[in-house]
């Protein structure tokens, strides 16, 4: 391991990233063992496709979250940004089809039976189709650019803390998306709608699992790009500096405001890029709850990947692995717990995130001879942990086992804490 890490270190892979890789391997192994119908083995193809799809879906805007975090900020709005940009795309498509331009792009033609019908998307020529899609996606990305700009402006000029600025867009953008959606549908399809169905051939094509390689490809390209920016360009160096010590960066004549602008625009635009795949994946634009709360997954991925929320620390590789790790964990949970997995997912993700981050800083913890269970807090912590263990045991096996688990955990931890205390003394 040391040897390997030494070797990998040369490749610029950090210990916590190695830890993640090992963890991923371990989880796959466990799942293979615990999953009765070994689907990772017998259906590895579908499984890898699905995990690839999900990882791309999360990873694309996790990279954005990472960029913002490294620059010393935070972006809580990406979930809503996905909904907003998705709505912009959907609405542009509606506008192009049913708006004033519609009659040009989708002329009324006469069908075989001789009665005249308006060409719909499905029957429009490839040129029109791609035109519509390209323009719409461009609109979506533009909306991302503007939202990012708004964030940067609020933070640099109005001096709002990033948390506040992006918190307000978190609530604001979603409602904006709903307004836009209702307006467009009621104006151009004269029936007010809460969501728009995405039937454009491009998205249907994209959704097809045969084309998931494209999702992964986009993710990889974006990751590579981000990697170059962060570790091979001056811009990247400045972003690390900004995150590490804004004051120092300023005094070194770095235009910190512009850097923030870049970071937040990058964050928002990755979200709007993700929204394209969200639309494809769900086949519908649903401003109400599309991507709701997913910003936290992105941040979690970045953090699990070793980003520090103080800023200045974080890598593309880490974030990539973080996203993959989270997706695999979630997937394996549902593989192992056959039915009723959904109620366990959150708990396991929570625990796993804690473990991952803990592991990534095990060295420091060891190094600083601090005790794990110091004083009263330590004792209460031990009790807490045993109680939670008991709770879990109870709902899996029953109450006797719960009692035993509780006592077991308590004793073990208590003994540990005690020896630890003795060590600290001697």
């Amino acid at each position: 391991m040391n040897q390997r890490s030494g070797f990998l270190a040369k490749l610029g892979i950090r210990p916590n990233e190695i830890a993640l890789i090992l963890a991923i391997v371990a989880i796959i192994g466990i799942t293979l063992g615990a999953d009765a119908n070994r689907s990772y083995w017998f259906q590895w193809e579908t499984n890898s496709i699905e995990i690839g799809r999900q990882t791309a879906l999360l990873g694309i805007f996790a990279l954005g979250a990472m960029m913002v975090i490294v620059s010393g900020g935070i972006d809580l709005s990406s979930g809503s940004m996905i909904a907003f940009s998705g709505t912009v795309i959907a609405c542009s498509m509606i506008y192009l089809q049913y708006g004033p331009l519609g009659s040009l792009l989708f002329p009324v033609v006469v069908d075989s039976a001789g009665k005249s019908i308006a060409t719909d998307m499905a029957h429009a020529g490839l040129f029109v189709q791609s035109l519509v899609v390209i323009v719409s996606i461009a609109m979506g990305l533009t909306s991302g650019f503007f939202v990012g700009t708004l964030h940067a402006w609020l933070i640099t000029s109005i001096r709002l803390p990033p948390f506040v600025a992006t918190l307000s867009t978190l609530v604001g953008l979603r409602s904006m998306a709903r307004i836009l959606c209702e307006y467009t549908t009621s104006t151009y399809q004269n029936s007010k709608k809460a969501q728009v169905n995405i039937d454009h051939p491009f998205f249907t094509w994209l959704r097809d699992s045969k084309h998931v390689y494209l999702w992964v490809a986009v993710f990889f390209v974006l990751a590579a790009l981000t990697w170059v920016i962060l570790s091979r360009t001056v811009l990247g160096r400045h972003i690390y500096a900004l995150g590490g010590n804004e004051q120092a960066a300023k005094l070194s004549g770095i235009r910190t405001d512009r850097l923030k602008w870049f970071a937040y625009v990058f964050g928002a635009m990755t979200a709007s890029l993700a929204s394209v795949f969200y639309l494809a994946n769900e086949g519908v634009c649903a401003p109400v709850n599309q991507g709701r709360g997913h910003e936290l997954n992105a941040i979690a991925a970045a953090v699990v990947g070793g980003c520090s929320l103080q800023g200045g620390i974080g890598t593309v590789t880490g974030t990539f692995l973080g996203a993959l790790f989270l997706r695999i964990v979630i997937d394996s949970v549902s593989k192992i717990i056959k039915s009723g997995a959904d109620i366990w997912e959150g708990l396991i993700v929570g625990i796993v995130v804690v473990l991952a981050v803990t592991f990534s800083q095990l060295q420091q913890l060891r190094g600083s001879g601090r005790r794990l269970f110091p004083g009263a807090l330590g004792v209460c912590a031990i009790i807490t942990l045993s109680l939670f263990a008991a709770l879990i045991a109870m709902s899996t096996w029953g109450e006797k086992q719960a009692a035993m688990t509780m006592i077991g955990v308590f004793v073990v931890l208590f003994v540990y804490g005690f020896t630890e205390k003795q060590k600290a003394r001697g």
Binding site: N37, K192, V288, K335
Partner: protein
């Protein structure tokens, strides 16, 4: 103009300008299902000339949590221009909701429930009437349909999984229970999976169900968006030929999927009619002309306060083993997909 009318603040404006009294339809959450209902509402508002009697009808769309609906009811309670309330209860036996309705009635505001009724054994008095369909019967019908299809594919045993936003939400539960009864004991329910209305999760759930339970023969979509989620996943997993897919509600996407042959049967409620009838009944109650009430609720006894809007069982245009005569025409209207689409276009609806 027409559009003006539709845009949100359009009727906010004319609601506040000449102080009308309002009939408000409070739904459970923002879902395409209610788009059709909203159309019905508008249609009713026009058809029964509410404006002439100083009334207006509008729809309130809370965020889908119980608190959301309660808060919305309370907010309405603190407004003085309320004449009638139609509610699609998000939880049948929730005391807070029941009490809020009670308070409305105390204030002389007319209250009915639509689509989602309160627990009749407990809160029958908290609303005057109920318009809609009994979800349990609906489920049962779909169950029968599923059994029929399975039989025709000479599947006599196997498992099925049901998918919903919240598996314990009342309408979901009664639909599921209904289905369970309808499909019979030959088939075992493997799982009820919730996705918290997150569509990505919805698709994952289907995927996992498929890989977790190799012996699945049928998938049941309980909430509107589960239909396309199931259909697409089944298609991309390439297991359509030995999988029976039956769903509730007819979203745009669901209809397309049925055209593609990825859905074998849809049980469709009639939200448009719900909206329409709600306006008709409430306006009548407000202007207390009893004739309408008598007409809508002729019979006496236990179900004297129930008006059932139509149920439709929609099947693909060709190749469906199901026959109209298998189903009680009084309860459910048997339809081929094309007839159904005709009906939709008649009221310029995209979904139902």
């Amino acid at each position: 103009s027409e559009k003006k009318e539709d845009s949100t603040v359009g009727n906010a404006a004319n609601a506040s300008s000449n102080a009308k009294r309002r009939i408000v339809f409070v739904v459970n959450t923002d879902d395409p299902f209610w788009d059709a209902c909203r159309e019905g509402l508008k249609e009713g508002e026009r058809h029964f000339k509410l404006a002439d009697s100083g009334l207006s009808a509008s729809m309130e769309v809370p965020d889908g949590s119980i608190k959301g609906q309660i808060d919305r009811l309370r907010q309405l309670a603190s407004q003085s221009d309320l004449a009638g309330v139609a509610l699609s209860a998000i939880s049948a036996d929730n005391p807070s909701i029941a009490e809020e309705l009670e308070n409305f009635q105390k204030k002389g505001i007319k209250v009915i429930t639509v689509d989602g009724d309160l627990l009749r054994t407990k809160y029958r008095a908290n609303r005057k009437y109920y318009i809609g369909t009994d979800n349990e019967t609906a489920g049962e019908i779909l169950g029968k349909a599923a059994a029929g299809i399975l039989a025709s594919r000479n599947k006599t045993a196997g498992g099925y999984a049901q998918f919903a936003g919240y598996t314990d939400n009342d309408n979901a539960r009664s639909r599921m229970d209904g289905f369970k009864r309808g499909v019979g004991t030959a088939f075992i329910e493997k799982d009820r999976i919730s996705d918290e209305t997150d569509r990505t999760r919805a698709q994952e759930n289907v995927r996992n169900a498929l890989s977790n339970h190799p012996d699945l023969v049928a998938l049941v979509g309980i909430w509107a968006y589960n239909a396309p989620a199931i259909a697409r996943t089944v298609e991309s997993a390439g297991v359509k030929k030995n999988m029976t897919v039956v769903t509730f509600d007819a979203q745009e996407a669901a209809i397309q999927e049925m055209e593609k042959g990825n859905i074998d049967a849809m049980l469709v409620q009639n939200p448009f009619d719900m909206g329409f009838q709600a306006v008709r009944l409430l306006s009548a109650m407000v202007l207390n002309n009893d004739s309408v009430e008598k007409e809508m609720f002729p019979n006496t006894g236990t179900d004297a306060d129930i008006y059932t809007t139509g149920l439709r069982l929609v099947v693909p245009n060709s190749g469906s083993p199901l026959k109209a005569e298998d189903f009680d025409a009084k309860v459910v209207e048997f339809m081929k997909l094309d007839d159904f689409k005709k009906w939709l276009t008649k009221y310029n609806l995209k979904s139902s």
